[in-house]
């Protein structure tokens, strides 16, 4: 029953957000601030995630395929495609659920319990337009950009790990990666990160917006936002794979 009530609240929040999306002048400033916070400020953690994901994947793939049946370049093919189709989007999204999602729910939740949202509403502002729309739009636009960065750094990490460890030369790695590079895989990754951006920012905004009960309430809202974001990222990953692959 509680789950249905929350689903109704979530749908209502999204409906209000959608209805006021044309009030651009109200949220323009916040939108650009969120582009910076969600996009620009997430680049270091996304690069770090990408590099290490690619590096570890290369070492493990080389270890598992350590026979004479396959050419060494197959490692580059497997790493490249795994990163582009799945890992850059999903691992990046899980990291961002912690970084971006937790910030959004804490920020909006604190505004709720300290009556800042009431203050906005009492002035005649639509608080959903002001707070939720810029965060969700930034998620939708910035996650695909971060996905591309994660994918590039992931392949670079794999290439570096392979050559530094002496498993396969960089040229061979790239040859393998190029052989199995299909542009539609990138499109699939971009579509996934677009959906993950929406899922994480909308769930986190929702949890923060309806937070109650002081510091403990904000803490609970943030925990729920992060956990639910991760669950729905994995769920939507499965649904998208079933639909689009």
């Amino acid at each position: 029953m509680e789950a249905i009530r929350q689903l109704g609240q979530y749908a209502t929040l999204l409906y209000h957000a959608l209805r006021s999306i044309l009030e651009f002048s109200i949220y323009r400033k916040n939108l650009f601030q969120e582009f910076v916070k969600i996009g620009y400020e997430s680049i270091p953690i996304i690069m770090l995630t990408g590099v290490f994901t690619g590096a570890v994947l290369t070492l493990q793939t080389a270890y598992q395929l350590d026979t004479d049946f396959y050419p060494a370049s197959i490692v580059g093919s497997i790493v490249g495609q795994s990163i582009i189709i799945e890992l850059a989007a999903v691992i990046g999204a899980l990291v961002l659920a912690g970084k971006v999602g937790a910030r959004i729910s804490t920020e909006i939740g604190t505004m709720r319990v300290s009556e800042q949202i009431d203050a906005l509403e009492s002035m005649g502002f639509n608080s959903v337009t002001f707070l939720v729309i810029p965060r969700v739009l930034s998620g939708i636009f910035m996650f695909p950009v971060l996905y591309v960065i994660a994918a590039v750094t992931g392949i670079l990490g794999g290439l570096l790990a392979g050559s530094l460890d002496g498993i396969l030369p960089a040229a061979e790695f790239m040859q393998g990666a190029r052989e199995f590079f299909f542009p539609e895989d990138v499109v699939f990754g971009v579509v996934k990160s677009f959906v993950f951006g929406f899922v994480i920012t909308s769930i986190s905004s929702f949890k923060g917006y309806y937070a109650s009960g002081g510091a403990e309430g904000v803490g609970n809202a943030t925990t729920q936002a992060t956990v639910l974001s991760c669950i729905y990222v994995l769920l939507s990953d499965f649904v998208l794979a079933a639909l689009l692959l």
Binding site: S114, A119, E121, G124
Partner: protein
């Protein structure tokens, strides 16, 4: 004019109060008193439709508040300024920007005019020169004064004060009370003040509403309160250690 008609509110199974009815005339200063947790702030939030009742209605200048569309409601809300209990200042921007916030979004004023208005408002609340301070660097009293400056910057017809003097030292409380009187007399603002500070009540209010036992237990003018024989009201006043 604000008319409150048979207002009742519950949270789940918990009845807050029922059948509250009273009118507030233009230019009047009304104090709503009662014990902590009796629903004073809940009542205040109904006057601006920040909360909705289970039944009853609030009529502002002829408009039935709970029947308005959201767009209409936003227009009515602009007639109000609210001073929240903790100030409710936006902590992502500094003091000046907090006060300038409504001007930037609801007026077409230029930067120079905004600066003049904000500085005038900050001067009125004795905070001139504090515009650059982050809100986290303000004391409780300063936060309330900034909240007050922001509440009146658009020159509202009604100002709602939620516990304006709670947690403040006597001197700062006195300053806040003087400001409320100034707003009412000089700017002809209708003021509704939630408080349990009887000193403030006697200083600022013309009329008093006493919430007790989940209803409007007593209401009248300050003079009527002084001569009242209502036991629960007298008990409340006695408990507040104030002699009238």
């Amino acid at each position: 004019m604000i008319e409150i008609k048979n207002l009742s509110k519950s949270f789940g199974e918990n009845l807050v109060w029922e059948n509250i009815k009273f009118d507030i005339s233009d230019g009047e200063t009304l104090a709503i008193i009662g014990k902590s947790g009796c629903g004073k702030s809940v009542l205040l939030k109904h006057l601006n439709a920040l909360l909705y009742p289970d039944k009853g209605e609030v009529v502002i200048d002829g408009y039935k508040l709970f029947e308005l569309s959201y767009a209409e409601l936003r227009k009515i809300r602009q007639k109000f300024g609210i001073l929240f209990q903790g100030g409710a200042l936006f902590d992502s921007i500094n003091t000046f920007e907090n006060v300038a916030f409504p001007l930037r979004y609801f007026t077409n004023l230029g930067e120079l005019e905004i600066r003049k208005k904000v500085e005038k408002a900050l001067e009125m609340v004795n905070l001139i020169g504090s515009g650059d301070k982050p809100t986290s660097a303000l004391s409780g009293g300063m936060r309330k004064r900034v909240g007050l400056a922001r509440a009146i910057i658009l020159e509202p017809e009604y100002v709602l004060y939620d516990e304006p003097t709670s947690g403040l030292d006597p001197q700062t409380s006195e300053e806040i009370n003087d400001l409320i009187i100034y707003m009412s007399e000089q700017l002809e603002i209708t003021s509704i003040v939630i408080t349990h500070d009887m000193h403030s009540v006697l200083q600022i209010a013309e009329k008093v509403m006493f919430l007790d036992q989940k209803k409007l237990s007593w209401h009248g003018t300050i003079e009527e309160m002084k001569s009242s024989t209502d036991e629960s009201l007298l008990d409340f006043i006695k408990a507040s250690e104030y002699q009238i």
